[in-house]
């Protein structure tokens, strides 16, 4: 039972409550840094670090932080982790840091992270909070990667910088420009809503069949 519950907290962020496709959070980095798969993964890793770190701390200190100043405390914790991620990336992988530019400091403003602290980490035990953060961050990274890879393949004819289609492929340039982000995200959201609609329809059919069967 306990194991199931943990699994559920982890897996919900990846599919059922996917932060991007279902909750539509964190749109700013989603649209801005997904023009190549590598950038998307790097952004996903940085967000994962910040989200898991702050969820851990917020959950550990949830009984010590007075309710009146909780948001300020969350922001201080998040900002600290973002600064750590910023400097670490700059020291270890300057090239990636250069590509992501201003969007690393802007992780502070990613509502996905503050949202998880307020909605989950500040109310649940540390173990579940970390699992929830891991799941949400993985879901976010998955979303970033699916957008980034689609945009890179269509807009540059490459994935991770490796050319896929040979010399004669004419890149669909708009896909790596900002409008491409909106287009791709729109199509993916359309799919998710269609999927949800179909699933509800299916469940209704099953329920109706059961009723008539009785």
């Amino acid at each position: 039972m306990n194991k199931n519950e943990s699994y559920e907290e982890f897996i919900k962020g990846i599919w059922r409550d996917n932060p991007v496709f279902v909750q539509v959070l964190g749109m700013c980095p989603m649209l801005a840094v997904t023009n190549s798969a590598v950038n998307a993964i790097a952004m996903g890793m940085a967000t994962l670090f910040v989200l898991v770190g702050s969820s851990f701390l917020v959950s550990s200190f949830r009984n010590l932080i007075p309710k009146q100043v909780r948001i300020s405390c969350f922001i201080i914790i998040i900002a600290t982790f973002v600064t750590i991620a910023d400097y670490t990336l700059l020291a270890l992988v300057p090239k990636v840091h250069k590509e992501l530019g201003a969007f690393i400091p802007l992780i502070v403003a990613n509502c996905l992270i503050l949202g998880r602290q307020e909605a989950f980490a500040s109310r649940y035990p540390t173990r579940l909070a970390v699992l929830d953060a891991l799941g949400m961050a993985s879901g976010f990274m998955l979303a970033l990667f699916s957008l980034g890879s689609v945009r890179e393949i269509l807009g540059d004819g490459a994935l991770f910088g490796v050319k896929l289609f040979g010399e004669n492929y004419e890149p669909w340039v708009i896909m790596i420009l900002p409008p491409g982000g909106f287009l791709t995200l729109g199509v993916i959201l359309l799919f998710f809503n269609w999927f949800k609609f179909k699933k509800d329809e299916f469940l209704e059919d099953v329920a109706a069949a059961e009723r008539s069967g009785n």
Partner: protein
């Protein structure tokens, strides 16, 4: 009403609120100082190494470099330039003979400032190399200003007289023309404009060919160029 009074009774004192925030801020500050101090040497070293590599790349044949600034109407060697003072780098070969200048330059690109370094040989008045140090040009398009080998290679012997001109790809016919990148015309032209503007700004301040400052800085003092 009822809930209000209950809230009142359980609300913690202001002192506790202030203390919580103060402690959180303090711990956060210490953590940030810690990470800043521990990564600073690596970051400075990275920047200095990047700059050295870039200088050696834009000036073929160069193995030593020293920073130069324009003071009292002449070009002088400095160990460390003042903040906000424009610096160029003199490149010298293994014998200490002057080869050319590596000039940092920056200007607006398609999205944000592009910072480049270009190698210039005053005697022949040609640009011999170009390296993009910083750019936020569109990945897949504008970033070809440093990823497209043909474009970067086009700067290997480019005359600056009367000025560099970016022309449509495949139409280069004069020594001062360079083929622009298809689909990234704005970024290509931005690079050319940045070089032209920097050249105009510096050309009067460079000494006559043959009378460049001799190489004086012993290695590795030239490393102090981290900005």
């Amino acid at each position: 009403m009822n809930t209000d009074s209950r809230k009142e009774s359980t609300s913690p004192s202001s002192l506790r609120l202030v203390l919580t925030l103060a402690i959180a801020g303090l711990v956060s500050g210490i953590a940030i100082i810690g990470i800043y101090e521990s990564t600073l040497p690596t970051i400075t070293a990275n920047k200095a190494r990047e700059l050295r590599e870039a200088v050696f790349k834009v000036l073929p044949g160069v193995t030593q470099m020293q920073p130069l600034v324009y003071r009292d109407s002449q070009l002088v060697v400095v160990e460390k330039a003042n903040k906000d003072e424009p610096v160029i780098y003199g490149g010298y070969d293994a014998q200490g003979d002057f080869v050319g200048y590596a000039m940092p330059a920056a200007g607006p690109g398609f999205q944000d400032t592009i910072a480049i370094l270009y190698g210039y040989k005053p005697e022949e008045q040609i640009v011999v190399g170009m390296e993009v140090l910083e750019s936020r040009e569109t990945p897949g398009l504008g970033d070809k200003i440093y990823k497209d080998a043909a474009f970067v290679g086009g700067f290997s012997a480019l005359s600056v007289k009367p000025e560099i001109v970016a022309v449509k790809k495949g139409t280069k016919s004069l020594p001062n023309e360079i083929d622009a990148i298809t689909g990234a015309t704005i970024s290509s032209k931005a690079v050319v404009r940045i070089i032209n503007e920097a050249h105009i700004a510096w050309v009067e301040q460079l000494p006559a060919p043959g009378s460049e400052p001799p190489f004086v800085l012993a290695e590795p003092a030239g490393n102090g160029a981290g900005q």
